[in-house]
Structures are given as structure tokens and as C-alpha cells.
């Protein structure tokens, strides 16, 4: 594997250059202190403001980059009352800079999901011309909720990435994972230099320390074995259902949730068909026009979410559909997170 180093002070210059070729998405601070993946402006003055707001080392809750490739609200087609339909597909070149390892696993999950059976043109077109730069997590961004080591998704990637950065203080070690990553580094070679032996060693010890920093551990394999051999105990599900307020936060923040609803909107002879993220925890999710609702019971909806991610995704792909990012627990007002569910079914303790 080819390794390089880049000074942190050169990152904004690199992104400025890249901004000529790509739409650049990077974690940026917003009003109120939220750090969210946002696109850098192409306007000179706005770009300079944006650069100041970049925060690559945020320990605040950064959203996942999911909606860059799969927007929460996406126009699928435009049409008119003459019956003419025009598909609306977006396929600009994208550089997504500062993706965390667990979120990269989520993108791999989405790549698989949106390609199997039928190819989802909206997702795959957005994803097609994209380059992803991962930054490993020296410290967990959500110290009380991250559990990537339990599901094998972090705190650093070992393969599959385009480029992975290891934070070594004033500079990053740059690990190049494939040709696409190498092309990018070669194109901007003036910012990259060859590493010294010490830097590579430093990166190795950083990665080991990073693993130690993930405090929350759950027994994912035991949970999988239990779910494979039996139904989730009814009293677990009932306790979860009792607490769940059906806000949908867990699915909206989840980097691997994919469900959507479709709606039409038409005014004055011009219309759009759109899709919008939906949530399987909502009671109306499976409701049919007749009034029949096969998913009516709250505890069954909860069970479905856990089984889908932990059991069915894992059996299908070999990798957990829960990436251990901890966002569901972080955002849940009543502490029903994936990690608490795993803990509860694998130990005798009650977490709900």
C-alpha cells in the first residue's frame, strides 16, 4: 500500500483545488454548533467562509454522509399535464472528505443494497463519480455510544477505502487504498510527501490506542446467535415498545436505513414525483388503503428493525447492518439504542 503524509495546514489548499473539479462535502460547523456534512461553496468569498467552518476533528455529533448519495427528500421525476415525464438524476463529481470508518461501512452497505435486484439509478448515479476520504477515529466521536469494535467497522479501516487519513497531530498519514485514491493524490502531489519510518510507526500505535479508546463493548456475535436460533423474547420487545415514543429519530440518523415513501405534488399543470425517507417504526408505515395494517403492533415494529439490521443483513452480506456508530442511542429520547438492545438480550441485565 502506498503511504504519504500531508500537513494539516495544506488541507484547505487541497480542498480549494479539489473544489474546481468536485463538489466537495466536508463536516462544517453550523449555527448552534452542529457539525454537518455540507458542500463547499463555489463562490470565492463564500468558500473562504466555509473553509473556516470546517471541523474534521469534531467530537460533537456529526451526521452521517448518507444524504449526499441518498437525500432525505429527492425529486425522482418532473412531469406536466400533457403526460411528458423527465427523470431528474444527479451525477456530479463528488469528493466526500472526512467520512468516519463506520460511516464508510454504511456506504458499502448502501452500495450493495441499491445495486441488488434492481439498480437504483438515483443512488448509483450520485455515487458513481464520487471519491471518499476517510478519517479514522483516534477518539470515538460519541464516547458513550460508539461501539464500532464490537461490529468490526472501526475505529480504522483495513481495506476497501479510496483514501484513509490517520491523524498524527500536525499532519495526517495518508493511506491510499485503490487506483482512484492514487489518481487523486497524484493529481495533487504538491501537497503530499513521502512518510518517514517514524510516521508509519506512529500511525500504527495511534490505531492500537484508538481501539483502546472505544469503551462501549457489546457481544454482537452472541446476539446474532440468539436471534438466529429463537425469536426475540416477548418481554424484551414489550419493554422497548412501552418506552418508544415513535419519533423516528433512530431511523433518520441511521447511516444504513434505506426506507422511503413516494409522493406526488402537482400545481398548475407541472408536477414532481419525490421520495422521502420513511420510518418502519411508524404505525402508518405498513397501513394499506383498506385500513388493514399488518405491522400494527409496536413491539413487532421494534423487533423488525433490530432483526433486519442485526440478523438478516448479517446473514445476507456477512457484515452487520448496524455499523455501531451509536447515533440511534445518542439521539433516542428514551435510551432504546441498538447497543442497549444487544446488551439486554445477551446479558441478564435490563437496560430499558
Amino acid at each position: 500500500m502506498i503511504k504519504k503524509v500531508i500537513n494539516k495546514s495544506d488541507i484547505s489548499k487541497l480542498l480549494k483545488d479539489a473544489n474546481n473539479e468536485y463538489n466537495v462535502y466536508v463536516p462544517m460547523e453550523h449555527i448552534g454548533g452542529d457539525v454537518l456534512f455540507s458542500v463547499l461553496s463555489k463562490e470565492k468569498n463564500d468558500f473562504e467562509d466555509d473553509i473556516k467552518r470546517i471541523n474534521l476533528a469534531s467530537e460533537k455529533n456529526v451526521n452521517s454522509p448518507k444524504d449526499i448519495f441518498y437525500p432525505q427528500l429527492d425529486t425522482m421525476m418532473e412531469y406536466n399535464d400533457k403526460g411528458e415525464i423527465r427523470e431528474t438524476v444527479e451525477n456530479s463529481k463528488k469528493l466526500v472528505f472526512g467520512v468516519r470508518p463506520c460511516d464508510f461501512h454504511a456506504i458499502a452497505h448502501q452500495d450493495h443494497f441499491f445495486s441488488k435486484n434492481y439498480q437504483d439509478k438515483y443512488y448509483l448515479s450520485r455515487r458513481e463519480n464520487s471519491l471518499i476520504v476517510v478519517i479514522g477515529c483516534n477518539k470515538p466521536p460519541r464516547p458513550n455510544e460508539c461501539f464500532c469494535t464490537s461490529v468490526g467497522t472501526g475505529p480504522f479501516l483495513t481495506e476497501g477505502y479510496d483514501i484513509q487519513l490517520v491523524d498524527l497531530g500536525d499532519y495526517y498519514l495518508v493511506e491510499i487504498g485503490n487506483e482512484k485514491g492514487a489518481d487523486f493524490v497524484n493529481k495533487h502531489e504538491k501537497y503530499f510527501s513521502d512518510p518517514y519510518r517514524d510516521e508509519i510507526k506512529h500511525a500504527e500505535s495511534t490505531k492500537l490506542e484508538a481501539e483502546e479508546n472505544i469503551n462501549l463493548k457489546v457481544n454482537f456475535n452472541k446476539a446474532l446467535q440468539i436471534m438466529k436460533s429463537e425469536e426475540i423474547p416477548q418481554d424484551n420487545l414489550e419493554r422497548i415498545a412501552e418506552r418508544c415514543i415513535e419519533c423516528g429519530a433512530c431511523v433518520y440518523v441511521c447511516p444504513t436505513c434505506t426506507c422511503f415513501d413516494v409522493f406526488d405534488d402537482m400545481k398548475c399543470g407541472e408536477g414532481v414525483r419525490c421520495r422521502i425517507w420513511d420510518a418502519c417504526v411508524f404505525s402508518g408505515y405498513t397501513k394499506e388503503a383498506s385500513g388493514h395494517n399488518p405491522g400494527a403492533k409496536k413491539e413487532f415494529r421494534a423487533a423488525r428493525r433490530y432483526e433486519h439490521k442485526l440478523k438478516y443483513d448479517t446473514l445476507e452480506t456477512g457484515i452487520s447492518g448496524c455499523i455501531g456508530c451509536g447515533r440511534c442511542l445518542h439521539s433516542c429520547p428514551v435510551d432504546i439504542g441498538m447497543s442497549n438492545f444487544i446488551k439486554e438480550i445477551t446479558t441478564n441485565q435490563k437496560y430499558h
Partner: protein, 279 residues
């Protein structure tokens, strides 16, 4: 890359009012090439939409043996289906598909006796296979069609029900849950029809479509008559938003009804998690 979400216009050629709330729309793709190349298999469905209103999964009720057109029997229940009911001959609807890898068998069931059990709007999906069987009648043994509705004014395909009943070695049995003045036939749920005809499992396959409660009791009856779960075949429904295995709404266990179904054997359905309400 093909965009599977984009529907194509189809022109309505005829509309038959089947019952007080159900109409059958015969449509043909507006584009001659699409119409010519289009094929489907019995038991599949299409996503039917009106631009500006919405889209819903509707089973194809016509038989693939009758080519060039498609028929959809649509009950007026929601926003979209009410709007579809206002359409006239010559109007367009927008369709895409066909969907469903799991469809009704045909070659595999040749030489067998067939039992169809339908409840209410459950007959249209079965009709695709029934008419395919009728068009190849000599290849099959005896055929029984058991059809129950809440009231007599719900029956669809009234002329065809008579025609099927007149076909040799074919029996149509109708029943209603609730008697009205204009009904002189049987009264009772569809499983009551077991008293009026001899349902035998020997060399037989059963096909079901209806509300979950009907499916549950009909399966019990069929099993009582000696059917094994591989020879009980049913078509399931969910409010699918995409038909492509993406929107998630029809996910049951590790299956997507739109892609893996909508037709499953009873044995397959019994393997699905019970709590997801498949049966």
C-alpha cells in the same frame, strides 16, 4: 442505466363496472414498441400511477395468453384508486413493471386438479391464472373456483363466473357473508363451501387470495382435506411504494414481497416471522 422508477403511459381501451366499488380497466401501452415487446407472467403486478396523484401496486388480472393488452381490476378505496375510477375510455394511466419473481406456476401444474379460493378483491389476481388455465383447459384435471364476498353486489367478473361454470369439469361456487334480497345463493364464509363440494388433495394444487383472516381459515380447511403446504399457493399484498425491493414497505423477515413474491407457497409463508402478519 435504466431508470426502473419511470412509468410509461397506457391508454384505457375499455372499462367494465364489475361491482359497486370495482372496475376493470383494459389498457394498452401508448408506445407501440413497448406494447409489442412487453411480456408478463401470471401472478405478477404493476405499479399503476396517475401523475400528480400517486402510485400503487395493482395485480395484473388478464391472462398472459391474451396478448397486447393488460387488465387491472381496481377497487375504489384510496386517493389514487378513487381518481382512477373517474377515468374514461381514451384517458391515460401510467404503468411500470411487471414485478414479482414469485409468480404462479403453470407448466409445473399441468395435469393436476386445481382449487382456487378467493375472498372479495382477491379474485382479480387469481383470474390471470384461471383464464390461462381456461385457454389451455385440456392440460388440466378438474377445476374448482370458490369465491366469497361480503355481499352479492361485490362479485366481480359475473359473466366469466358463469362461463367458467359451464366449462366441462369446472365448478364455480359462490357464497356471501351477508344475505341481501337479490341473493338466492349460498350464505356463509368461504370455508362453508367445503360442505357443498368434495375438495380432494390427490394430485391437486390450491391457489388462494383474500384477506389474512380468510387465508388463515382456508389453509386450515385445505390441510384438513389433506393438502400439504407446498401445494397451497397464495399471493400476498402490501402497500409497496416501489416494486423494486427498495422502499422497504413490503419487507417481511428476510423477504421483500414485491421482489421475492408476491406469490409464495404456504410452506414459505410459514417460515416467515409470524409477528410480521404474513398470515
Amino acid at each position: 442505466m435504466k431508470n426502473d422508477y419511470i412509468p410509461y403511459p397506457a391508454v384505457i381501451e375499455s372499462i367494465i363496472k364489475e361491482s359497486f366499488d370495482t372496475k376493470t380497466f383494459k389498457v394498452r401501452f401508448a408506445d407501440k414498441k413497448i406494447a409489442k415487446d412487453f411480456t408478463y407472467v401470471q401472478g405478477q403486478f404493476m405499479q399503476v400511477s396517475l401523475m400528480g396523484t400517486g402510485e400503487a401496486p395493482i395485480s395484473i388480472t388478464s391472462s398472459p395468453s391474451r396478448k397486447g393488452f393488460l387488465e387491472f381490476s381496481i377497487r375504489s378505496v384510496g386517493k389514487l384508486t378513487k381518481k382512477i375510477h373517474e377515468l374514461k375510455v381514451g384517458d391515460k394511466m401510467f404503468i411500470r413493471g411487471p414485478y414479482g419473481k414469485g409468480h404462479f406456476p403453470f407448466e409445473e401444474i399441468k395435469g393436476k386438479n386445481l382449487v382456487f379460493v378467493a375472498g372479495g378483491i382477491g379474485l382479480p389476481p387469481l383470474r390471470s391464472l384461471i383464464n390461462l388455465v381456461m385457454d389451455n383447459r385440456k392440460d388440466f384435471g378438474n377445476v374448482k373456483i370458490l369465491y366469497g364476498c361480503k355481499t352479492a353486489d361485490e362479485f366481480c367478473f359475473k359473466d366469466e363466473l358463469k362461463a367458467w361454470n359451464k366449462t366441462p369439469n369446472t365448478e364455480v361456487l359462490l357464497t356471501v357473508d351477508k344475505k341481501t334480497d337479490d341473493w338466492t345463493g349460498r350464505v356463509g364464509v368461504v370455508t362453508e363451501l367445503w360442505k357443498d363440494t368434495d375438495i380432494k388433495a390427490d394430485n391437486a394444487v390450491a391457489f388462494l387470495c383474500g384477506p389474512p383472516i380468510m387465508i388463515k381459515f382456508v389453509v386450515q380447511k385445505l390441510e384438513g382435506s389433506g393438502f400439504n403446504d407446498d401445494n397451497i399457493i397464495m399471493t400476498l399484498e402490501r402497500h409497496m411504494k416501489c416494486g423494486l425491493g427498495k422502499c422497504g414497505h413490503c419487507n417481511v423477515g428476510d423477504k421483500f414481497i414485491c421482489v421475492d413474491g408476491p406469490v409464495f407457497t404456504c410452506a414459505e409463508v410459514k417460515k416467515l416471522p409470524k409477528k410480521d402478519g404474513a398470515m
